[in-house]
């Protein structure tokens, strides 16, 4: 387990599979990336590409029968007195064990997409946030309340002391999402995972929440893993971007590289298919042909070959490419750039080829 100081989380060759009656669903089938301390990593992809499942795997909250079958999730725990903390492998932890429960909600916390369904409707906002504080800090009710009000103020909820006793249904969508953020931040985690936190919100509210998250990140020096399908949001908030397709990371790079020098045909097609404000109107959009294949019926070889405009018959439908490193922290999984060098530290290529063939 070698991980440099700047890296907070490193995911290597992660695979999460769901053995269902209908067949094996490979929700995640080879995910490699790392999150750097204090930086924002965006995971982008269409529905069903495994981006939410990646987040759930990191917290070990994959619903059964799904489970992590392969790979490592290395996380550096916070150190004391400037000493680097120890590195643990979350993938090896028992989903119900003590070890992961110490990390969940304390060192890594998560914000979910739908603020209405992820908050309890029968508990007050104060109760729900206070619970997080009490469980992890052994705090008394009074201390927890003071901390809760403090964190509610921090996320910009006006009259925080009065809102302590309100129920989620009494709050607007934006205020609920602020409460969710407050709950996630109550224990000042070193990594915040946000799963489509602004998708259910209106544009003006979304702009407010993105600003808030950016501000809080700087203030608390926290790393963020931001999951979204909205490329506009990615461009606003990301430092680095991971593009996923059918359970695989197909491309990884800085936000500028992804938007201005995309390598993978999927990334290129995605960027071309969005209408852009202020650009020539009424021109036809470039769309990607076909649709995301069913998870029960994954294409052989590169999973994108059925929709790819650079499809090479006899190659793409046979060989599953491995990530090819283009430069430091930049790789692409496409046969146009080689069959992959496997430099990111995974099972050797022959083994993967065997699995495909």
């Amino acid at each position: 387990m070698v991980m440099d100081d700047k890296t907070l989380l490193e995911v290597k060759g992660l695979k999460t599979h769901f053995p269902l009656d209908e067949g094996l669903v490979k929700a995640i089938d080879g995910v490699d990336f790392s999150v750097q301390r204090g930086k924002t990593l965006c995971i982008v992809g269409e529905s069903g590409c495994g981006k939410s499942m990646t987040a759930r795997s990191i917290l070990q909250i994959v619903q059964p029968p799904g489970r992590i079958v392969e790979g490592e999730i290395l996380f550096r725990r916070p150190g004391t007195n400037g000493q680097p903390g120890t590195v643990v492998d979350i993938a090896k932890m028992d989903p119900k064990g003590k070890a992961i429960r110490e990390i969940r909600g304390q060192e890594i916390s998560m914000i979910f997409q739908e603020p209405m369904t992820s908050l309890s409707p029968v508990h007050t906002i104060g109760d729900q946030i206070g619970e997080v504080v009490r469980i992890h800090n052994n705090a008394s009710k009074e201390e927890a309340k003071a901390r809760t009000i403090d964190v509610l103020e921090r996320v910009g909820i006006p009259k925080a002391a009065d809102r302590f006793d309100t129920y989620p249904f009494q709050l607007s969508g934006g205020m609920r999402q602020r409460s969710m953020i407050a709950m996630a931040l109550a224990n000042t985690p070193s990594l915040l995972i946000a799963d489509e936190p602004t998708t259910a919100l209106d544009v003006t509210t979304q702009a407010q929440i993105l600003d808030l998250m950016r501000g809080l990140q700087q203030e608390l020096d926290m790393a963020m893993m931001f999951i979204t399908h909205d490329l506009g949001v990615v461009a606003e908030i990301a430092d680095e971007v991971v593009v996923m397709y059918l359970g695989l990371v197909v491309e990884r790079g800085t936000v500028d590289e992804i938007f201005h020098d995309p390598k993978h045909p999927y990334t290129r097609a995605l960027l071309r298919s969005i209408p852009r404000l202020g650009r020539a109107t009424k021109a036809r959009l470039d769309s990607i042909k076909g649709m995301v294949p069913s998870p029960f019926d994954r294409p052989r070889g590169c999973p994108f070959h059925t929709r790819c405009e650079s499809f090479m018959p006899g190659k793409c439908d046979e060989i599953l490419p491995l990530p090819t490193t283009l430069s430091e922290r930049r790789d692409v999984r496409c046969l146009l750039y080689g069959e992959g060098d496997g430099a990111v530290g995974r099972t050797e290529s022959s083994k993967v080829l065997e699995n495909v063939g």
């Binding site: 461009a235 201005h260 995605l270 298919s273």
Partner: protein, 352 residues
């Protein structure tokens, strides 16, 4: 039924001071305690063959307006003047169910969520042919031929017509919804967030399909959406709503470059731009606070508590409709006088 003689360039549909007020009742005896003005005096026109975008945030009344046009709900005031193919103008708001029947064939709707808008117990054939059967347009073998033709037109394979909706992806389901809407050769299609639930790559396919169908079939669209980049892409004209009121209408090219209402300006400014290089060079106009509660709207202009140009006049007097020098209409005391920023102003410093 009220009929008017044909004007020189008559619109296909004209909303005149449309109102939809929902009563609010409270307490054990359900006492009438107020009204929510979901749609409060909306007037707009839709020309034949054009795409009008209706944009606004959740709760602004855009969907209610769409439903009122279809008479899925009964408006509490105002007129919905629809011009028939023979040139006669009828006010749909005054018709009863029986009188409405012919118009229900001509105005159709496509809903947002392709997962809940198709009956899971009906095959695609049944879903798409239902309007044909109900209206006795086709029978027997004809039905299947019509459905096959419709499916082909929206880019689906007719062989799949005996399958159930669960066998299709979101984008395919939305194509089925569009096929159903087109079954009776409508003149006006109300698209209520028709692409909002779709993935980026599929959304582009459906937008292209809608444009092709409009060209082929001379359709008129009312395109309801909260997504400004989609609105800009597909619409000829745009109408912006805020808390039940229309606040601005203009041609698409104008509204994005020179918005005349401060709310339009803020909406445009809030859209995330898919270019990281723009991140630090853009000046964003941020709205403070939240959307007003339509049951207890603010005094004067509904937008004044969040407006960066607001004066005392704005909180005291209801603004009139004003036309700016370049032909845009805005519900603002200071329309045309204030320096609102359009998409190009926001980007100007980022030019590279």
């Amino acid at each position: 039924m009220s009929s008017k003689p044909m004007a020189s360039t008559p619109p296909l549909l004209e909303l005149n001071n449309l109102q939809m007020h929902f009563p609010v009742s409270s307490g054990v005896v359900n006492r009438h305690s107020g009204v929510v003005k979901a749609v409060d005096g909306v007037s707009l026109t839709i020309q034949e063959g054009e795409t009008l975008g209706l944009v606004g945030e959740s709760g602004c009344g855009k969907t209610t307006t769409g439903r009122a046009i279809l008479r899925a709900i009964d408006p509490t005031g105002g007129q919905i003047n629809y011009r028939r193919a023979d040139g006669q103008v009828v006010d749909l708001a005054t018709l009863n169910n029986r009188q409405l029947k012919p118009y229900r064939r001509e105005i159709r709707m496509v809903f947002q969520d392709p997962y809940s808008s198709l009956n899971p117990r009906m095959t695609v054939l049944e879903v798409v042919s239902e309007p044909l059967r109900v209206n006795k347009v086709a029978r027997g073998r004809d039905i299947e031929d019509r459905v096959a033709e419709l499916l082909r037109r929206v880019g689906l394979r007719p062989e799949y017509m005996r399958r159930y909706p669960h066998a299709f992806s979101g984008g395919e389901r939305q194509r089925i919804s569009i096929a159903r809407a087109l079954a009776l050769n409508p003149r006006l299609v109300v698209l209520d967030e028709a692409v909002s639930a779709l993935d980026v790559s599929v959304r582009a396919q459906i937008l292209n399909l809608l444009e092709d169908l409009q060209d082929e079939l001379k359709l008129t669209y009312l395109f309801i959406s909260h997504d400004l980049s989609v609105i800009e892409h597909i619409c000829d004209r745009v109408a912006v709503m805020y808390v039940g009121k229309l606040v601005e209408t203009a041609e698409t090219s104008k509204i994005f470059t020179t918005p005349s209402h401060p709310y339009t300006e803020a909406l445009i400014s809030s859209v995330p731009i898919a270019d990281p290089r723009m991140r630090n060079t853009r000046t964003r106009i941020k709205l403070q606070g939240e959307i007003a509660d339509p049951a207890h709207p603010p005094s004067g202009c509904y937008f004044h508590p969040r407006c960066r140009f607001a004066t005392e006049k704005c909180s005291a007097e209801t603004p009139p409709w004003k036309q700016t020098s370049n032909g845009q209409w805005a519900l603002c005391h200071y329309a045309g006088e204030i320096d609102t920023k359009g998409i190009l102003d926001l980007e100007s410093s980022a030019a590279d």
